[in-house]
Amino acid sequence: MEEIKLIKGNEAIAEAAIRAGADGYFGYPITPQSEVMEKLMLEEPWKTTGMVVLQAESEVAAINMVYGGGACGKRVLTSSSSPGISLMQECISYMAGSEIPCLIVNVTRGGPGLGTIQPSQADYFQACKGGGHGDYHLLVLAPASVQEMADFVGLGFELAFKYRNPVMILSDGAIGQMMEKVILREQKQRWTQEEINHMSPWAATGKPKNREYNILTSLELDSAVQEKLNIKLQDKYHQMEEAEVRFEEFGCDDAEYLLVAFGLSARICQKTMELGRAKGIKIGLHRPITLFPFPTKQIRMRADQVKGMLVVEMNAGQMVEDVRLAANGKVKVEHYGRFGGIIPSPIEVLTVLENKIIGGK
């Protein structure tokens, strides 16, 4: 049954994973997301739902365990933070290539290198534009609350299996660490082997007499065939762009100026919008929820309406490139970013909007 709790974003991932009927979690400790595995180990879901939880020897091993589990048609997830996600990129590329569904939770921190343990949004490019080698995309969900941390676990699994593609929850250290009230959904049953055999006939489940044996691989040396496989992947990403774009808008109907921000930055911009509107400035906020596929059409539509856009990110300007592509020169698009774990304040953002967009040259 549903339950209301006051918990951290990271704990919400753990609780939601068990409730979503996940089969396995494989991870390696890294700040600021270690509570995910800590919570799972406290809950001991192997005693209740039968979910496996295993601490791996590295992020590299963890994601390859996820690869193994996903290849068997199981609902498996891992969580990590920026440097750990960098280590996982090889296998994520393999999973995209061999079309293995899985859920990867990235509670990002500032970089580059070991960077900082404070929150950042500097891994937008890595998450949305591939990250590993080859032409591929993850389906990327950007939560802005603890509730969404929980909700996107179930949604992530659903989308991962719908498209046979890895899904990433791109969160950050603040959302992972902050506590909010969250409604936890009722317990879903884990899939039975019969259900998996029926739903995922491609999976490695042991070859029965009545089907050919399954091969999960990303290798194909015949260029003509490899090109076809790539085209198939690209078709899948186009389908996502048609069917899976998710966003949220506030005060956009009469907006003259638009803030565009995802995740934590969008929470800050909501307050900026209130402050601006109190001063009589008609500000709207567009929050992409799926970062890939990106809400290009909606932003393009808003570009015909508003006088200027300010993209607010905790990075040096990453999503702004996609906003500019969407606006396609129709309207001025500026970026405001803070880095290294610094979170901008709502007033700071309003001042930038007033200077760069409203009063700007």
Partner: protein, 254 residues
Amino acid sequence: MNEIINPENLVYQKSTILTEKAFHYCPGCGHSTVHRLVAEVIEEMDIQDKTIAISPVGCSVFAYHYSQVDWIQAAHGRATAVATGVKRLMPDHFVYTYQGDGDLAAIGTGETIHAINRGENITIIFINNGIYGMTGGQMAPTTLPGMKTSTSPYGRDTEIMGNPLKITEIVASLKGAYYITRQSVHNPASVRKCKKAIRKAFENQKLKKGVSLVEVVSNCNSGWKMKPVESNEWMVENMFPFYPMGDIKVPEEK
């Protein structure tokens, strides 16, 4: 001739697990023989519908072309991590990795040691030919001192290039290792012995007592730039003294 070809005269036939595809391995290479042995064991144990195999990166990357069991192709060195994920979620299935020495003992050393140390209930088939075959004969972690490869063209100078790694002896010391043996397939007697070891390594999964690893010291006639027979002779003379044949860790019989 035709009267000889009768069912009652049948002494040997290809395993039903093997596909019709011709092996891509160089003639004389041990891989094909080991593939056959694994296929025969799976057939004889009647576990085709319960087997999940992990292929590596290396010459045996295409192992999935030859045996009709469900396959997952792992990134270089990561086969035992993939197998861990599979076995933990499919504990009643027979899970095996098939890996070469570059895969298992160089880039995958960490995954190998930790999967074995955790005592994952998997079987590891480890082909050690002392060289990177697939990429054209470069020095491997197992290349013997003085042995010539394309990246040790004057012979492996251990002062500069380090020493060969006896990974099998290392992992045998780990608690999670249940059955560790070193075999070869260079003559009929060794093939039969190797098959027994592989059978045991698969049977052990039923006991859930840890990893069973069968190292097969094998020739790479192409990489070693020798004729097949010559390479097998060289292997016996040079590889076997460094990598001695036989069981390294066997379960205590009660």
